[in-house]
Amino acid sequence: MKDTPVDDDRYLWDRTGEPDPETARLEALLAPLRHRGVPPVLPARQVVDGRLTRWKLPALAAAAMIVLCAGAAWLLYPDRHSGWSVEGVSGTPLVVDRTSGGTRTRGAGVSVGEIARLGIGSALTTDGGSRARLAVGRIGSVEVDPNTHVLIEPAAVGQHRMSLQSGTIHARISAPPYIFFVNTPSAVAVDLGCEYTLQVDESGAGLIRVTLGWVAFEHDGRQSFIPAGAVGATRPGSGPGTPRYEDAPSGYGDALAVLDFSAAADLRRAAALDLILSTARRRDALTLWHLLRDGTPEDRARVYARLAALAPPPSGVTQEAILRGEPAALNQWWDSIGIGNRSWWRLWKKK
């Protein structure tokens, strides 16, 4: 007998196909041992004024970050602060504080250790010798590297939004998904929890590197979902590219740059796709799932075939539905691959 699932395991797998006599015999024999108990009598839970009376923070810092990212603390203490603050870390970061109306501006340096409030529309600039730290309400912080220019943007109540015009920031956010946003010239980084580095160069091209949790890169309806250990690029005019793990096979970065940002007639596209597919590991299902949305029908069929070989689609998800781009089928396949459960993000996005 082969050591990998084959078609004649269908009955064992989901009771389709011809019933296997041995499996059917064991099912009938063992069914009397099935659970037939009753629910326990539950003690009353302590709930006061609609909020829980006690909760515990895990000991590990990383676990605590994940708890906060899952929203428990945020639900207890909703962040209603619309203002930001900046602290000088080194050198003298410059703050341009625009009053309402935008006609009066004044620039002021922020000394090391000094903390200043930032209003909506304010700009923060660091030179080659300065660094700063932004406090984002009560949900986290953003480290601002040298030679970086950021703006504080208007946002809906309970949300926080900034722009990274150029340079590098490191965000560490403890909040549910869709609370913290960073605009770049080519895409919006949507925090799904919790830590990442985002760089934007002078042309407006961006690169995000996620170190904890997830980030979504969005532009004009196009989305990329980037987990910890992965990177994603974005370019003006194209929006977010295809994410890949940092330990992806050699050549993935260059190949994806061709597939994501070159013209449809670019002769390098065929070779780029060949490289991606021929060297893809099970882990690279992240990349292949995103590639299902792009390219010619033939390209997408090849991506489907390779992804199905690495991570078979769940029952009910057909090739036709995937190649038609049906969201329900794509979401089901994503959830079954085991990269991350998007239903949690969708829950928060609805809110």
């Binding site: 699932p5 064992l12 659970h35 108990g37 326990p40 709930v47 899952a70 769940p314």
Partner: protein, 177 residues
């Protein structure tokens, strides 16, 4: 008692029910019990003597009710609950080893021949590697399909399918001896 079969992909519903249960809604928790009681029974049955499993199922759900605040991702309730069950089974086994040895002449419970055979097969399943025995019990005893098992305990369908295939191969070999 009516057992309700849920379609795959209920993580969103679980998150909602957990939220309501956290606020003290026992009916919401009862829905979670309906969805997961057989799963937890299967997880425990793969590890603990059959006579004790129903009590252990109650212990697991009581523990979960009291510890709902500690669940980081409400949508992952099933996987979290299965983890509690495995820990509970491990605790039970440790205490069972420390307990007093039963008299050798104690009469075995009165069983029909088929029920005796069922328990004998279950004993063989319990000798299999842990990943295989749990999946096989959920499939053959509790009656879940592979996709339902994956959906409820947080494994990928591919992992569950491989566990079922390999586990069944080993079980057949052992039963044939």
């Amino acid at each position: 008692m009516t057992i309700t079969m849920f379609p795959a992909g209920q993580a969103l519903e679980d998150a909602r029910l957990v939220g309501e249960a956290r606020r003290g809604d026992e009916r919401a928790f009862a829905r979670l019990y309906e969805r997961y009681a057989r799963i937890i029974h299967g997880v425990l049955l793969a590890r603990a003597p059959g006579a004790d499993v129903e009590d252990l199922v109650q212990d697991v759900f009581l523990s979960a009710w009291k510890r709902l605040d500690a669940l980081r991702d409400p949508a992952a309730f099933g996987g979290w609950l299965a983890m509690i069950a495995r820990h509970r089974a491990a605790d039970f086994r440790r205490r069972a080893v420390e307990s007093v040895e039963l008299p050798a002449d104690l009469r075995a419970p009165d069983r029909t021949a088929s029920l005796s055979e069922a328990h004998a097969v279950l004993d063989v399943i319990r000798t299999l590697p842990e990943a295989y025995r749990e999946t096989l019990v959920l499939r053959l005893v509790e009656g879940f399909t592979g996709p339902e098992i994956a959906d409820r305990i947080g494994l990928t369908p591919a992992s569950v399918r491989v566990n079922l295939h390999r586990g069944m191969k080993l079980l057949r070999d052992k039963l044939a001896r």
